[in-house]
Symmetry: C2
Subunit: 400 residues, 2 copies
């Protein structure tokens, strides 16, 4: 039936995730198997998401992909690995007798279009959302069900964590074929409603050392990374899961900061060394520690991925004051009205005592803008046909 | 005889040392015993030194000290520990029957004046030179001979390495009383005449986290530091000694850079994290790696202590070109003629190929100035009475 249609298109969205126990380093480059387990928080798609349309048609002569409106090479190994894997799963499913659920000829070519609503490659885990969305959308189009970790992971390791909402762990697994290296939800998105996430965008420049090459060099050269993966992370995974289950913000915040710092420490121990943090990142770290010290309580935590942008965790009752502290330390340059994006924040005054605790020279424009968001759900299918990024001709709608 | 003189004064100088295998963390705070051995290069006193005069007189009513012309509190525990230790050694010596060699009443009070010819507390190991000079000068005045490691160490751990010229290791020792935690020379200052040392002064500001508190927090909180001390440093000590013995610059340079990076990695793994490197430090690191990559050969190495200033090791045939590369990357602000201090450097042009390899936006004033120096001898006694920093009244000569 479906195979008679000239074109079948599905559009999905997928979220960004931010690791609180970091993934850095593969034990198998080909299969994308990590040297340690990791744990992340899925951010809400109202603020940060990837949207992907996949269309299949007998009329397509080749697999093609457009990222943010620009055609890219579908021959890239990581894209090919995802496609190969999803087709393998679909074939397996059909051979298992679920043939009716696999509606299309698996030899049909696919067109994919994908857009992010945030800058790519700025350390905001765009590849995680992107490959999770690709895996999820292709699975819809090819009628594949079940855990898609392996498909997403082949694109980008941390992408498997974007397949679920809430709090997600990626178990490193032990098998050499990677079958047990999968993501699973630790707690759903409604588990901790007070939790808020602020993305402090320091620089939207493309980073110097990509994470694929970076982690490869780290695995080859850093003795500290090996020790971390083997001897530090296992206990931290258990402790972090406990903090989340019990909504223990103090424990969650402390461990999040420590693990971010240790990840960046292993980058510095890499040879040649890798530095993702810059002077602004370090001032944000100081700001958080001074803010907490002022209250004698851990009210705010930072974490940094492979870039200078900070991701801040706090509770809803602290957002307004912390935003005021950031605005005080990094006065917005020209975009005072566009400084805050995302969830509404009621302006709050900064007490003189807190101002005094943050007593250093402000850096105008140090933080470009803040995205205020919260924990969110996993990938979604968009049922509105107007949402498709590809037209009935299988080409991007925006294209002339 | 000597005790009849109203005042006996001795003036000595001592060098700065730069660790190539870093010391960070004590296993005994009181005795200043380190968690790992370390190895350093003694810099030449023609460029960097501390000068100290110690005077003893029956007329002095209390122990007093002046640092860089300003009177400081002699009651500081570290100064007291040095004084106590030297007097204990002198007493021991006298009791052992060498009484004639201990010329003065040990109960006489001492006046000390000390000056550095470089900015204090800017990460230039001023405390190492300072306490080495104090220990050495007091030993002269009190007639104490032998290894002064314990005296200097009680002031500042790394000070024991400034008691010798050339290449010096500080063996961590195993005894709980610290008797075997001593410095010894690995190779004399004439061993490697081609070696040059450049201090790139990035910032002369006082550092945010002093090293005493910093290393204490690191020992308490960094799992990576413990691993480094126990499992990484022992092999590196042996390897570094070999590189020095064989004048293997490639090996020496690589290990120096790796050990500096690992030390700063453990600082970042400390909680709250410690960052001594800033964006300029990181650009210097990049500059060195690009310079070496351009030549396909390790011609230059960096190391950073607890501050943003870089110390560069290279061979005499590379100094001029590397200085040109620094000048190109960090154009001197207003002090073009005062940019280079120390040993003479014949200006060298920078090839277009090398300029291209360093192709990034120059940072004017990023490096304030460069001190060009080399490996130097240990502490010296100055026999010229005009060199005394204290007058015949026992007070600083410059004072009104």
């Amino acid at each position: 039936m479906a195979s008679e249609k000239p074109l079948v298109a599905v559009t999905c969205t997928a979220p960004v995730n931010i690791a609180v126990i970091k993934y850095w380093g593969k034990r198998d480059e080909e299969l994308v198997l990590p040297i340690n387990s990791s744990l992340s928080v899925t951010l809400h798609q109202d603020q940060l998401k990837t949207t992907t349309t996949a269309a299949i048609s007998k009329d397509f002569s080749e697999d093609r992909i457009w990222l943010n409106g620009r055609e890219e090479d579908m021959g890239q190994p990581r894209l090919q690995a995802c496609l190969r894997e999803i087709r393998r799963l679909a074939r397996k499913r059909r051979n298992a007798g679920d043939g009716d659920l696999v509606p299309l000829n698996l030899n049909y070519r696919v067109h994919v279009a994908s857009v992010n609503n945030f800058p790519t490659a700025a350390g905001l885990a765009s590849s995680a959302a992107g490959y999770a969305c690709l895996a999820y959308t292709l699975a819809q189009v090819y009628g594949v069900e079940g855990n898609l970790s392996e498909v997403a992971r082949r694109g980008s390791g941390s992408a498997c964590r974007s397949l679920y909402g809430g709090f997600v762990e990626w178990q490193m697994g032990e098998q050499t074929d990677g079958k047990d290296s999968i993501a699973r939800q630790v707690a759903p998105e409604v588990h901790w409603p007070q939790l808020r996430v602020l993305v402090l965008v320091v620089s939207a420049e493309k980073k110097l050392t990509g994470s694929t090459v970076g982690m490869q060099t780290s695995v080859e050269t850093s003795a500290l990374l090996k020790f971390r993966a083997e001897s530090v992370v296992p206990a931290r995974m258990r402790e972090m899961a406990r903090c989340i289950q019990e909504r223990d913000f103090h424990g969650f915040a402390q461990l999040t900061m420590k693990d971010s710092n240790q990840f960046h420490a292993t980058c510095l121990d890499t040879f040649p060394p890798i530095s993702y943090l810059n002077d602004i990142s370090r001032r944000i770290i100081q700001l958080v520690h001074h803010f907490n010290a002022h209250y004698g309580q851990t009210k705010v935590a930072y974490t940094f991925d492979a870039g200078p942008n900070a991701v801040i965790f706090t509770l809803d009752d602290t957002v307004a004051e912390f935003v005021a502290a950031v605005r005080h330390s990094f006065p917005p340059a020209a975009n005072g009205d566009k400084f805050l994006k995302g969830l509404q924040v009621t302006p709050a005054p900064l007490s003189d005592e807190l101002k005094a605790a943050l007593a250093w020279e402000p850096i105008p424009g140090g933080v470009q803008y803040i995205i205020v968001t919260q924990v969110g759900p996993g990938p979604q299918v968009l049922n509105d046909p107007n949402a498709h990024l590809l037209g009935s001709d299988g080409l991007p709608k925006g294209a002339a």
